[in-house]
């Protein structure tokens, strides 16, 4: 109770400030703007354009001063099963023998020469790692149920183009998946994806989304032309071949021929990265998982690290927040927001608040914050004893196995971060548990860093634990070690980057990403090490910063050195920039050349220019504040 009244006081204080700001604006005007209720109370918004929470923690209206607040209609929680690979709610990608247009448009290092081939650059690693598997993908419009109380949603998803049937030429709609089909890849088995843009023309975009796309494989050690660079987009009717060599970092440099096993990646994801339109396109559903196994992390609990077997006990979870119109029941998106978009409904693997029947044994969950703007701190809640902390094992940060499993109370996720965890349900046989987000966030600027009381956060997923004992071949995490951190490189150069808001836009070192991606801000020397200092001088904003290509190690947050036993003592590709914080990262940039971005992964910040391009070349430059 004390908490709520404090929040009210804060709201009143903000309302007072807002009133002062609006002196000269009449009462009628304020009502017209939706900022004053007929009772004369200012709508308690944290700043006029921010989305406001009511006392239950739900959002009362959209940003940009919506007249029609996008407060979702009621949806009874936990009545549908979690989509997963066992129940058909998610599917594993199936390879094809040949692409449907391969005779005319050959699969080769150089662009195929077909007029609808969107690629202009040759594949760097095609001869070194010829593809052993081919996948044919179709991006298309599809109708999908997210909850029985809501109408079918017109979304965009990914289809297995030779399996899921054709797109209806009249409605431009077909069978597709969101989350997209899961790629199950293995190290040293190169993959070639022929990715078709079968999306509808823009006038049939159902209100938002640009049918021009580029798919990024998030944390792949991928040559630039296949990475999904924001300006490598391809249009309706075009295709783009992406070659994923699935090789370890170091393959052409420090560990010739093999790569460094301690740079192994495991939980990757793919999503649209279209310059200036990533937020709407991903919000519509263009995201999926890419899982990478090797001889140690095998997907079989009887071999290697003996991690719970895929797909039965190894479950990817993409968490997204969305809002639905109370009038039409359809997905709302605010294309005019600069700050970020929060939803009042939480989806896991595409369904609002699902349940999952588990057996009393160990499971591996690959938890991904799918954005667009919300951060999470997830706990395991036993509703019969909310104040009890139920610990679980944190085994991977950003999809990369930690030096050893850590027993933790919770996991903190910024947009695009992945944390793999192992939950042992054996002590909870016959019980019901929840994955609960207790991190308070009131607008797109980032979380307040306050934790909501246990049981009063957002319940994301319900676990119904079976009562009958079952065999468990997976290893006890307390006895395990995985990959030691690779030795830190000696940096050739230290570069500093300030993440700021300037003139209403999001900037890095006061500069903005141009829509043609033509500005090469600096050149990294291939096969060298670099130290990057990332700074956030704001007390109001947090930014999840993602750097493409090779994993970094986080050395310190302000003066706090990240030490063994910290979940961030890890190889990472996203770093959360907290309020007034400076972080130090150490990188290597090995093996391939080309252009890559660094950007904020709050996709509204990303689309509003908080991004830069750097190129990896044989000779680097010496710009310290690029």
């Amino acid at each position: 109770m004390a908490k709520i009244s404090k929040a009210r006081l804060k709201a009143q204080e903000n309302a007072r400030k807002n009133r002062q700001e609006l002196i000269g604006v009449s009462r009628r005007d304020l009502m017209k703007m939706g900022l004053l209720t007929s009772a004369g109370l200012l709508v308690p918004k944290r700043g006029l354009s921010a989305r406001a929470l009511n006392s239950a923690g739900w959002l009362e209206s959209g940003s940009s001063g919506d007249d029609i607040p996008c407060q979702s209609p009621p949806t009874t929680p936990f009545i549908e099963e979690l989509p997963n690979h066992m129940n058909g709610g998610m599917v594993i990608h199936s390879p094809v023998a040949a692409f449907s247009n391969e005779a005319a448009c050959p699969a080769q290092a150089a662009p195929s020469g077909c007029p609808n081939d969107g690629r202009t650059q040759p594949h760097q690693a095609f001869a070194q790692r010829p593809p052993v598997k081919k996948y044919e993908v179709s991006q298309r419009r599809t109708l999908k149920s997210v909850h029985p109380a809501l109408p079918l949603q017109p979304l965009w998803g990914f289809a297995r183009r030779q399996v899921d049937g054709a797109v209806d030429p009249n409605t431009h709609t077909g069978v597709a998946w969101t989350p997209g089909p899961t790629f199950v890849a293995r190290y040293n088995e190169a993959v070639l994806v022929r990715n078709f843009n079968d999306l509808p023309p823009p006038q049939l975009n159902d209100g938002f989304g640009l049918p021009s796309v580029v798919t990024h494989l998030h944390n792949g050690h991928t040559p630039s032309e296949s990475d999904g660079f924001p300006c490598d987009y391809f249009e309706r009717g075009q295709f783009y071949d992406q070659h994923y060599p699935n090789v370890l970092a170091g393959i052409n440099s420090t560990h010739p021929g093999t790569g460094d096993i301690n740079e192994s990646l495991s939980t990757l994801w793919y999503h649209d990265h279209r310059i200036e339109f990533t937020a709407p396109n991903v919000y519509k559903g263009l995201a999926g998982f890419y899982i990478l196994f090797n001889e140690l992390d095998t997907g079989d609990e009887n071999t290697g690290f003996k991690l719970p077997s895929f797909p039965q006990f190894d479950i990817p979870l993409i968490i997204t927040d969305r809002s639905f119109s109370p009038e039409t029941g359809l997905l709302c998106f605010d294309m005019f927001s600069l700050d970020g978009v929060l939803g009042d409904r939480f989806l896991v693997n595409g369904k609002i608040q699902p349940f999952f029947n588990v057996q009393p044994r160990r499971y591996r969950f690959r938890v991904l914050d799918g954005g667009p703007s919300r951060f999470y701190q997830n706990f395991l809640l036993d509703p019969t004893s909310p104040s009890t902390i139920n610990k679980f094992w944190h085994i991977a940060n950003d999809g990369n196995l930690l030096p050893r499993p850590l027993l933790v109370n919770s996991i903190r996720l910024g947009v695009a971060e992945r944390h793999d965890i192992i939950i042992d349900f054996r002590p909870f046989a016959g019980k019901t548990l929840y994955l609960e987000n207790r991190l308070e966030q009131q607008d797109g600027r980032g979380p307040t860093n306050n934790l909501l009381p246990p049981g009063q956060g957002h319940k994301l997923l319900k676990f119904i634990v079976g009562g009958t004992p079952v065999p468990d071949g997976s290893a006890d995490p307390s006895t395990q070690t995985f990959y030691p951190l690779p030795p830190r490189p000696t940096p050739r150069i230290t570069r500093t980057f300030r993440f700021d808001r300037t003139n209403g836009q999001w900037a890095i070192n006061n500069k903005l990403m141009p829509g043609d991606c033509s500005d090469i801000r600096f050149r990294v020397q291939r096969n060298s090490g670099e130290r990057w200092i990332l700074q956030n001088n704001s007390g109001g904003w947090q930014h999840p910063i993602h750097i493409h290509f090779e994993e970094f190690q986080l050395v310190r947050r302000n003066s706090r050195i990240i030490q063994a036993g910290d979940p961030e003592f890890a190889r990472k590709d996203v770093v959360r920039l907290n309020f007034n914080e400076e972080v130090e990262l150490l990188f290597r940039f090995r093996d391939f050349r080309g252009r890559y971005p660094m950007h904020c992964h709050n996709t509204l910040h990303e689309d509003h220019a908080m991004m830069l391009r750097f190129d990896i070349e044989d000779v680097g430059d010496n710009k310290t504040e690029p």
Binding site: K32, P202, Q203, E276, D339, D516, S518
Partner: protein
């Protein structure tokens, strides 16, 4: 830019751009309690209020009906006495206008809305237009302070921190661009290269029949 005439395109594609021909208003559970509102109207209702503004030539116009409907638009916010960034963006947008050629004023329209309607009267804006030698197709707009404030928030030229929001200079960097009929809206940095901004605007252009033949520029 392609030679597709806006009127031709709108006529050819039929009046109702949002009809996709399937029962999206039907609940997956079988219940039909949902209103059918075209997505275009959703955007109009949420973001494009039909407030009356006055142009730098003293003409009264309605924001949605006269300035947005069926058009490709480029919108920024400024004020006449703003120094530094504002004039740089203005001169940058003049370059963008050159790139877009005679389509500006025909189916692409530039709008600069003042952040200081109290002082930026139509006469002041007219002088500003003359001083910067602004070409036709680009309209400077003022209006009642509450209407301008409403527009500013609806179009997302705002900051959630009230202290920051008060400073008008914090809303001048963005150039919003959109195609009202196609329901495509985005923003570009006002100080980007003019050619890059022009390319962004091209992304929301009327669709060509043969989309697949899009010629890629040199995007190295």
């Amino acid at each position: 830019m392609p030679n597709v005439n806006r009127r031709q395109w709108l006529t050819a594609s039929g009046a109702n751009l949002s009809a996709a021909g399937e029962p999206t208003a039907q609940a997956s559970g079988g219940e039909t309690k949902w209103k059918t509102i075209s997505p275009r109207d959703v955007i109009k209702n949420r973001h494009l209020p039909n407030v009356v503004l006055t142009t730098h030539e003293g003409k009264k116009v309605r924001f949605y009906d006269d300035l947005m409907k069926d058009k490709i638009v480029v919108i920024n916010m400024m004020y006449a006495t703003c120094e530094g960034v504002c004039p740089r963006i203005t001169s940058n947008l003049q370059q963008v206008q050159k790139f877009l050629g005679d389509r500006v004023g025909r189916d692409i329209f530039f709008y600069s809305i003042t952040l200081k309607p109290e002082v930026d009267t139509p006469a002041v804006l007219k002088k500003h237009v003359a001083m910067h030698k602004i070409k036709p197709g680009w309209t400077f707009l003022t209006g009642a302070p509450a209407d301008i404030e409403l527009l500013r928030r609806k179009l997302g030229f705002s900051d959630p921190d009230p202290e920051v929001d008060k400073d008008k200079a914090n809303h001048i960097g963005n150039v919003r661009y959109g195609n009202e009929a196609l329901m495509l809206w985005a923003a570009a940095p006002g100080l980007s290269k003019a050619s890059a901004i022009a390319e962004s605007i091209k992304w929301v252009d009327w669709p060509k029949e043969e989309a697949a033949t899009k010629v890629k520029g040199d995007r190295k």
